[in-house]
Amino acid sequence: MKALCWYGKYDVRVEQVPDPKLINPRDAIIRVTATAICGSDLHLYDNVIPTMQAGDILGHEFMGEVVEVGSAVSNLKAGDRVIVPFTIACGRCFFCSRKLWSLCDNSNPNAGMAEKLYGYSGSGLFGYSHLYGGYAGGQAEYVRVPYADVGPFKVPEGLSDEQVLFLTDILPTGYMAAENANIQPGDTVAVWGCGPVGQFAIQSAWWFGAGRVIAIDHYPHRLELASRFGKAETINFSEEDVAERLKEMTGGIGPDACIDAVGMEAHGTAPDAIYDRIKQTMMLTMDRLHVLRQAINCCRKGGTVSVPGVYGGYLDKMPFGGAFAKGLKFAMGQTHVHRYLPTLLEKIQGNGHPGFDPTYIISHRFRLEDAPEAYKLFGGQQNECTKVVLTP
């Protein structure tokens, strides 16, 4: 089959590889019908995530049709159309039984590696480094899905691939970011980063009862999406001082909740952002946390900082004193995708009302064999290129 393989910084190639086979009794093989490039795939493309190996198959947002199931999978059969959560969960450990799916105890074959770095290991993820299990991803014609009796979620008839594809990661991720932000009715929510997760966090903030949503970015097109589809007020950080502007907009109080939908590769021209960039270039740090620092700084006293953006290592110059002095609450982590699927599917279906249409973030569509070009475009032209969908 064809699959998109990682070979290093800015080097991804479509290669001919063997078809996947069932390995464990709870596996299924899925024929991929649609897959997307995630903003977090760009961290791999930029080679800032450790433990990648040449030849690794990428892709953690994918859906398709079941072609084969293992002996222990009874709820799926060949022909079923499913979306697959990017977090791999066994469904039976302490964490899964508490719906903390992305913290599954059993799905990471390289848990020992993650334990050395982080103390304990999170769940395995598709196509996202060996630290997260080294599973082959879904930017391919076929993919093996472990614990298929737990993860894959059947798609009701009448919905297109593009309507449901983002249920695999970014829509639940934006939703969990808003849930983590502890939004009370009427609250002001500031969202850093107007990529797909930021867009969906903005939308979700309204669902949780926000009174005001403020979107922060420097790409005019992304800010426009936030304004047009997300009904958010906007701040362009290349034109305005974010901290001052947020203070002004909130009558000097600051936003009640701040969402960092950017993560470890923040852009910025402030001295701390330049400092981070130099350190990252010299391989002295994995993370550039300009946005996180700013979110902590801008958040109102007693407010909540929610972090859906990915971080990888030890954070330098983290203003923890400020966070402590202001009594902030933090919530973060990989998304417990399984938990949100029924709710979000209902939002998309609408149940008599006009449903939520997440396809507005799609800017480009490519064939799988042109994926390297798509990565180049997505990595280089973030203003116009907001989301790429690939079809094998």
């Binding site: 089959m1 699959a3 393989c5 990682w6 070979y7 190639r13 290669e15 590889v17 063997p18 078809d19 996947p20 086979k21 390995i23 464990n24 009794p25 709870r26 190996q53 040449a54 030849g55 690794d56 198959i57 222990a72 066994c90 469904g91 039976r92 450990c93 302490f94 039984s97 105890d105 059993n106 799905s107 990471n108 074959p109 848990a111 020992g112 334990e115 395995g124 299990g133 080294g134 599973y135 082959a136 391919a140 093996r144 472990p146 614990y147």
Partner: protein, 314 residues
């Protein structure tokens, strides 16, 4: 890693040689110095067992029942060990000679006072290796020269690890899996096979360094009310090992706390394990990986794996 493999292989071979020598020595008449030293070794072991005291008492009772009086402690007056006796095992002697020679050469190269000191240390190690006698071991009452047929691993030797993991299943289920020791190669990745022989005895085969098999016989010492299993290897195998596993239901309804305690004499002693730990190996991290396999198998019904999945040409 090749170097480590080669060293481990040499040491393993030495260890086998050592076991053969020992079997011949064991044919010596009782009452000679060798035999009495053995008994002293046993006494020390009792204060430094890897299992808890009460487990030990149960095990000891069983031993006393099944063994002839000659092995019992009663009636034997320990004598002061004589100074000229060998107290360094074959593997250690080889290592001593190797390091001693290297230090001697290094000392000569330096050619100053520091060099002289190195050369002297080298000479000391060479003596230790050639004569098989170590003054420090004498002072500490340690001997690595003898295999004690009453203890799998003598006191103050070997590597001991203990790891605990909570498994979200009832204790009885975990115990049942473990009690059929032929299941163990499923979770202990280095084990190739475990065969039950008669009664409590079994034969174990594991993958050793450089594609060599490591084999030993073992017996179950203790099997207590579905919450504890203890075992030890029998003399004459490639490796000396002893261990126990305990299954303790958690108080907060999270399943069972499983604690594995293991002690073994790796070929080459503590030094090998320490070296292995530099390369991410060592018994401790292997045991955690194996326990995690056990947890996954019991909770999720399978051990997560990516073996055999496709990847791009490299």
């Amino acid at each position: 890693m090749l170097l480590i493999d080669a060293i481990e292989r040499a040491i393993l071979a030495a260890h086998r040689l050592h076991n053969r020598d020992e079997q011949q020595e064991q044919e010596l008449p009782k009452g000679c110095a060798h035999h009495q030293l053995n008994v002293i070794g046993e006494k020390t072991m009792k204060t430094d067992s890897i299992t808890a005291d009460w487990e030990n008492r149960v095990a000891e009772r069983e031993r006393a029942r099944s063994r002839p009086a000659a092995v019992s402690m009663k009636g034997i007056q320990p004598k002061k060990p004589c100074r000229s006796r060998k107290n360094v095992g074959v593997a250690e002697r080889i290592a001593s000679i190797a390091v001693g020679t290297a230090l001697g050469f290094a000392g000569r190269q330096k050619g100053n006072m520091g060099g002289l000191l190195l050369a002297l240390m080298g000479a000391g190690l060479l003596y230790r290796g050639a004569a098989g006698h170590c003054l420090c071991y004498d002072a500490l009452g340690i001997s690595t020269a003898k295999h004690n047929d009453n203890t799998a691993i003598p006191a103050k030797q070997g590597v001991k690890v203990e790891k605990t993991l909570t498994i979200n299943r009832p204790a009885s289920e975990l115990y049942e899996f473990w009690r059929d020791i032929t299941h163990l190669p499923q979770v202990f990745k280095h084990l190739k096979s475990v065969e039950v022989q008669d009664g409590n005895a079994s034969h174990w085969v594991a993958a050793g360094p450089a594609n060599m098999n490591v084999e030993w016989d073992a017996e179950i010492l203790n099997d207590h009310e579905k919450n504890l299993i203890a075992w030890r290897s029998l003399p004459g195998g490639d490796i000396d090992t002893a261990g126990s596993i305990r299954f303790q239901p958690t108080k907060n309804d999270r399943g069972t706390e499983v604690t594995v305690s293991m002690k073994y004499n790796p070929p080459g002693g503590q030094v090998t394990d320490y070296l292995a730990s530099w390369f991410g190996g060592g018994l401790g991290s292997k045991l955690v990986d194996d326990l995690r396999n056990f947890k996954s198998l019991m909770e999720a019904g399978e051990i997560p794996s990516t073996q055999g999945q496709p990847r791009g040409p490299s």
